[in-house]
Point group: C2
Chain length 237, copies 2
């Protein structure tokens, strides 16, 4: 009936996009992988390209395999909020709504794996184990959303930035790009709109962190973490 856990092996890479689907440490059976693959389509975006537009009907979900995406929400009066960034290995599109809640835009040249929502849903009911993984993923997202709410509600700009940098570093580490040097695929404005700040404040706080010897800024789009412990203390304090 349901594929028993014994049947499940370590998940292989997707035939199309060469990335481990849904979660790095996830476990899917061979059959589940095959089913997933058959529903997948490869897609490549040029820098700045718009993948989906806020308000349009939601047709696909995605797995990022290269590059990065930003999820942007624009309010009627022009206020901008970057809900999040999707890096390689991330799953994009979990939503209960009929319409897209965000613009999704490519930050650099970006490669992704596309699934139709209906196909996904069909696969979900067909392979309960897969749906379980999806649920797990949704719950993890929910946890990190709560984390981010705490940051937005109760941390000052410097703390938010420290938190943001540490989160990025951890995500890049998990994606296999280890090392204390973080790649920022987004401009300052996106960081600002993600953290509920202004560009000026982001800039000021970055230099403040540098002056305190916690980070180095070898280039606009690169941050070296010099004092991990110090950053963590800051964020927690």
């Amino acid at each position: 009936m349901n594929p028993p856990p014994e049947d499940a092996g370590p998940m292989g890479p997707c035939l199309h996009c060469q990335v481990r689907h849904l979660a790095v440490c996830s476990v899917l059976s061979r059959e589940e992988m095959r089913a997933l693959d058959s529903a997948a389509a490869l897609q490549v975006l040029a820098p700045g390209a718009v993948l989906v537009r806020q308000g349009e009907p939601r047709r696909h979900v995605y797995t990022v395999t290269r590059g990065a995406l930003r999820l942007v929400r624009l309010s009627a009066d022009g206020r901008r909020q970057v809900a999040g960034f999707a890096l390689p290995g991330d799953f994009v599109g979990l939503s209960g709504a009929e319409l897209n809640q965000h613009d999704i835009e490519a930050l650099g040249e970006t490669e992704l794996c596309r699934f139709g929502v209906d196909a996904m849903q069909r696969l979900g009911t067909q392979y309960p184990h897969l749906q379980g993984k999806l649920l797990e993923r949704a719950c993890t997202e929910l946890d990190s959303a709560h984390e981010r709410m705490m940051a937005l509600a109760r941390m000052n700009p410097t703390e938010r930035l420290a938190d943001f940098l540490l989160t990025l570093a951890e995500r890049q580490a998990r994606a296999g790009i280890a090392g204390p040097s973080i790649d920022l695929p987004m401009p300052r404005a996106d960081i600002a709109d993600h953290l509920g700040l202004t560009v000026e404040t982001v800039s000021r706080c970055l230099t403040a962190l540098r002056n305190r010897g916690l980070i180095a800024l070898p280039g606009t789009y690169r941050v070296d973490i010099l004092d991990l412990r110090g950053l963590e203390t800051l964020k927690a304090a």
Copy 2:
């Protein structure tokens, strides 16, 4: 195999707690309901009682049937964030973590329905349709978390308060308690910690809204919406 949709009737109330599980408009089969019920236990909390403590192992999930809960996160240095409130009909406990991420406390006398997480997981794999509902619920939560992040990041205190009141009104309406009079089951401090403000600011903004004729404040724990349209304009602007 999986109960086909044709098999599903409108979801009845839980045998134990007399509330429609998981979602008001959800649809479960008779068998699924029976399975859910068998895993459920009733629980009543006195005002202020602590249901779960941040950091303890996560053992249960809950459905609120009467009263209200608050989900509180306390950081090391004492900063407090109310991640959310659970009202009758709400589902509490969707998380990917091993440990509880929040304190959960009763706001008044509160009644709820308890499920073991392992039982829930077992039911999930057994009844894919049920798990689908859970996933749906998680996605909806995720959407509203994003909504709240927008509020925290980009709205001023008055707008946040308007948004909060409208959300509460809508939730109470969906729970069957219609009317323009909102019941606030929580003290000002909780509202403040939910919206990333101080008690003083919440108080000031409430009186400001009253002075502008948008709301009335017949009692500390009651708000009448006088100008729905006006509030909505405020929040969107």
